[in-house]
Amino acid sequence: MLLVLKNIGEQNNLFLAAVMLYLIAAVFALALMKHHKLCNLVTNTICMAAALIGIAAAILRISTDTILTPVTIFESRITFLFLEIKIDQLSAFFVLCLSVLVLCVSIYSIGYNSHYYQKRNVGFFNFLYASFIMSMLMVIISGNAIFFYLSWEAMSLISYFLVIFESEHEENRRAGRLYIIMTHLGTAFLLIGFMIMFAYTQSFDMFGSSELIPEMAKNLMFICFLIGFGTKAGVIPLHIWLPYAHPAAPSNVSALMSGFMIKTAIYGLIRFVLCYLQVQQVWWGAVILCIGIVSAVLGVAYAIMEHNIKRLLAFHSVENIGIILIGLGVSFIAAAQNNDFLSGLALVAALLHTFNHALFKGGLFLGAGSLQYATHTKDIEKLGGLIHKMPVTAVMVLCFSLAISAIVPFNGFISEWLTYQALFLNINMGMAGQNILSILSIAALALSGALAAACFVKLFGISFLGLPRSDDAAQAKEVPLAMNIGMGILAALCLIIGVFPAVFVKLADQVAGSILGASVVETLQSGFMSATVPLAVSENSIAPAEILAALAVVILMVLLTLRLCFGKLKARKYGTWDCGFESINARMQYTATGFSKPIRIVLSILYRPGRKVVIEKGESDYFPKSVKYQVWTEPIFEKYLYNPVIRVLKSGSEKMICLVQTGSVHVYLLYIFISILALMFYNRVV
C-alpha cells in the first residue's frame, strides 16, 4: 500500500488531499446542520480519513530525503504576495503530531458531541472544528511567511470562536476577550519580525537564506519571534490567557488547542530561529533555557493549586512547554557553539516531548471532557469514587497521569530522560555560566517532575478514588464507547512509545538530522532501531522494555513464592478504619485543597495565600450554624504585571482622546494638513 502511494511520486498531493478533506468536512458540517447526529458522524468520519492520510503522508515524507517541489496555490500580480506549500521533514513531523491527535479526538467527538444534540448548533460547531484543524495544518505546511501569517491569523480567529462557543457564560466571553487580545499582541510581534525579514532580503521566503540580514537586525528578529511565538506557546509571563481559554473551550477543542495549537509556536521557533536565522548567538539559547526553567517550575506550581480540572491541565501545558523549551534552549546553545551532536540530541528530546505532550495532554483533556460529560462539573472537589462507576476512563486517565509525571514505563519519561542527557552533555569544564544554567535546569526538571506527580496523585486520587463527594459523582455512568476508543488509542501510544522508544527516537532523529545535517543516532552506540536494544547516549543507556519485563517477573515471582510458601491470599472485606467512631462519610475525606496545603505553605512566598473564615453563630459557641472557609492564592503576574500596565494604558488613552479630539474643526483641518505634509516629505525621502 505504502509502496503504491510512493510511486505516485507526488507526496504533496497527499498533504493537499488532507487539506481538501478538512474543507469538505467543514462544508458537510454546514450542509447537514439540520440533522445533528448525521452531521456529527459525517464530519468526524471525514476528519478521521483526513487524519489517516496525513499520518501516511507525514511518515512517507520523514523517511524520504528527496526535496519536494513547492506547490503554488495562489498567485497575484504583486511579486511577494503568493501562497505556496512547502513540506520538509520538520513540517512533516508536526503534521504527524497533528494527524495522530486529530484521529483520536475525532473518534472521541462522535460520542462527546452527543450532549450538544438538540441543544446547540452542532453543524456550526463541527464547521469550526474542521476549519480549525485545517488552519493548523496550513500553518505547518505553508511555504512563505505571508501564507504562514495568514494561516496563523485564521487559526487564532477560529480558535477564538471555539473558545466562546458556550458564550452564555460571562466567564467564557471574558476568556475569549483575553485570548484574542493576547494572541494578537503576539501576532503583532511576528509581523514586525516578518517585516524586518522582508526589508533586508526583499522576500518572504522562509526557506531561503538569511545572510543579507545584519547581526543587529537578526537579534531584533529573534526577540520579536520569541515574544510572538512565546505568547502562543504560553510561556511565563505571557501565559495568562491559557488558564482561561482552555477551560472555556469544549473539551475536544481544548485537547486540540493544548495538544497541538500551542505547539505551532514550537514549530515557529524551530523554523524561524533555528532553520532560518541559524542561531547566531549563545545568549539566544540561554534566554530560551531560562524561560523554559521558569515556565516548567511555575507552571506546575500553579497547577497544584487549581481544583478546576481543566485549569489545572492548562497550567500543566505551561510546564510542558517549559520542558520542551529547556531542550530547545540546549539545542540552540549547542548550535551556536557548532556542537552538532549535542544540538541534534537536544532537538530530538524537544521534538519527542512535543509529540509525547500532544498524546498525553490531548488524552488528559479528553479525560476531563469525559468527567464533565458524566458528572457535569469541572470541580474535582465534587468528584470521588469514579473508578467504580467509570472503570475504563479511570485506567486511561491513570495512564496519562503517569505519562505526564514522567514515570517509567511511559513516554513522558523517555523524552525527559533525553532532555536530562542533553543537559548532562551541556556541562563542560570551565564554562561557569552555562554549567550553572544547566545544573539548575536539571534541578528544575526534577522539581517539576515530582510536583507533577504530586499534582496528578491529587487529580486522580480525589476524583477517581475514595467516596463520591456529590450526588452527580455518585450517579455517574461510563461514557459512550467512541469516547473511550479515542482515549484508548492515545493511552496505548503513550505506553508503546514508553516501552519501545527506539522507533520514535529514530523518527525525531531524521527530522533533527535534516535540519542540522548530522544524525545523532549514527554516532550513538548500538543499533537504535530494534526495540529491545536500549536507548543509549554515550555509555548511558536505559531499556524500558527490560525494566517493564523485570517488574513483571518480580511481581510474578512474588505471587508464586507467596502462594507456595504461605498458601492462597486470604482477604476479608471490611469498612475503612474509623477510629471506633461511627462510619466514615464522604465529607471526612481529604479534599484537594487539603491535599495541596503543605505545598501551599512551603511555597507561600509564591502563592501569597489568603483565607477567610465566616462563622455564623448558633445558640452556643460550640455549635455554630454554619462555617464557611475560603482560601485563595494571588495571581502574581496578573496583579503586579498586567493590571498596572492595563491601568496606565487605559488612563493614558483616555487623556489622549481629550487632547486629540477637541471638537474644533480647525484643529482637525490642521491634522489633515500635517498628514499631507508628512506624506509628501516621505515620498521625497524614499
Binding site: 486520587g461 511481581i555 481529604y590
Partner: protein, 316 residues
C-alpha cells in the same frame, strides 16, 4: 550467562534477604542507647513471616489500586536494587542502570503508594499522601543534582560506571566535592527512608506520621510486602552511599569467586557502619516540625549545588 545469573541472585536475593537486618540493627542501637535490651536483631524477619500468613483486611471502599499497589511498590524496590550493584566485581549484564531511571522508577512506586492511601477514603491516608508529596518534591532536586554531579566527574550517568570510577578515587571523603555530596545524599536518604528527623518510623500519632499513615489501611500479606519494600529501598540507598563514598573493591588483590565473597563481607560491614550512623543520627535528633523539613531539604540542595560549583563552575 553465569555472570548474569550471579548478578541477579546477588542483587535481588542478597538485598531482599539482608534488607530487614538493617532495620533490626538500627532498632537495636536505639534500644541500647536508651539502656533497653530491645527486640532481637532478627525481629523484622519474624514479623514478616507472621504477616505473610495472616488474613488481610481490605476496605470495602477501595478499588483494584489498593490491591495491586503492594506488588508494584515491591517490584519497583527490587528493580531499584537491580540497578545499584552491591559490589563492582560482578559486571551487570543488563545495561539499563541509570541514576535518572533509579529516581523515576522509585517514583512509580511512590505514585501508587500515594494513590492507595487515597483509595480507602481514610483521612489518615490523605494526610500521609499529601505530606509525602511535599517531601518528595522537595528532596528530588537535591538527589538528582548530587548524583549527576558525581556522574559528571565519572563521565556517565549509569550507576555501574560511576561506582567503578569511584573505586579509583583515593579516600573520596577528604575531597570537599565528595564530602559535600555525601552530606547531601545522607539527608536525602533520611528523608527517602522516612527516618527521624523527617519522619518517625515508630510512631502512629496522626500529628507526626507520614509513611506510616499511608500504610495504615494495610494488613497481612500486603502490609508485609510494603514493609519489606521500604526496607529494600532503604538498603538500596545505603548501598549507593557506601559504595560511592567508601569504595573498597580496589583493596582486594585477587579475582574470582573468593574476591566476590570478600567484597560482599566488606560491603556488609560498610552497611553496618551506615546503619550505625543512621541509628546515631536518629538517637540524637528530634523529629522536625513538618514545615521545618523544607529547611533541611534546602540544606541538602545547597550542599549538592556547592559540590557541583566547586568542581564544574570553578574547577577542582
Amino acid at each position: 550467562m553465569s555472570d548474569m545469573i550471579l548478578y541477579f541472585i546477588v542483587q535481588t536475593g542478597f538485598v531482599i534477604l539482608a534488607a530487614p537486618l538493617v532495620n533490626g540493627i538500627i532498632k537495636k542501637i536505639k534500644a541500647l542507647s536508651q539502656k533497653r535490651t530491645g527486640a532481637p536483631v532478627l525481629q523484622m524477619y519474624y514479623d514478616l513471616f507472621k504477616l505473610f500468613k495472616k488474613t488481610s483486611v481490605v476496605s470495602d471502599v477501595s478499588s483494584w489500586i489498593f490491591r495491586v499497589t503492594p506488588y508494584i511498590v515491591f517490584a519497583t524496590a527490587v528493580a531499584a536494587a537491580m540497578i545499584v550493584p552491591v559490589t563492582t566485581l560482578i559486571k551487570p549484564v543488563w545495561n539499563t542502570g541509570d541514576v535518572i531511571l533509579l529516581v523515576y522508577i522509585l517514583a512509580l512506586g511512590r505514585f501508587f503508594m500515594m494513590l492507595a492511601a487515597l483509595d480507602t477514603g481514610s483521612t489518615f491516608g490523605g494526610m500521609g499522601a499529601s505530606r509525602e508529596a511535599m517531601i518528595s518534591a522537595l528532596i528530588e532536586p537535591s538527589i538528582l543534582v548530587s548524583l549527576i554531579t558525581v556522574g559528571l566527574i565519572a563521565k556517565s550517568t549509569a550507576v555501574f560506571p560511576i561506582m567503578t570510577f569511584m573505586q579509583t578515587v583515593q579516600n573520596p571523603l577528604i575531597h570537599p566535592v565528595y564530602l559535600m555530596i555525601f552530606c547531601a545524599l545522607l539527608i536525602v536518604i533520611i528523608a527517602e527512608t522516612s527516618r527521624i528527623p523527617v519522619d518517625d518510623p515508630s510512631t502512629h500519632l496522626e500529628l507526626t506520621m507520614v509513611h506510616e499513615a499511608m500504610l495504615l489501611e494495610y494488613s497481612g500479606r500486603s502490609l508485609a510486602l510494603m514493609e519489606l519494600a521500604a526496607a529494600i529501598k532503604q538498603l538500596v540507598f545505603i548501598t549507593l552511599l557506601v559504595n560511592l563514598f567508601l569504595p573498597h573493591d580496589q583493596l582486594i588483590g585477587i579475582h574470582g569467586i573468593a574476591a566476590i565473597g570478600i567484597s560482599l563481607l566488606i560491603y556488609l560491614a560498610k552497611v553496618f557502619i551506615a546503619a550505625l550512623l543512621i541509628g546515631i543520627v536518629e538517637v540524637n535528633t528530634v523529629k522536625l516540625r513538618l514545615f521545618s523539613i523544607p529547611n533541611l531539604a534546602a540544606l541538602s540542595f545547597i550542599l549538592s549545588f556547592i559540590g557541583f560549583l566547586q568542581f564544574f563552575a570553578f574547577g577542582g
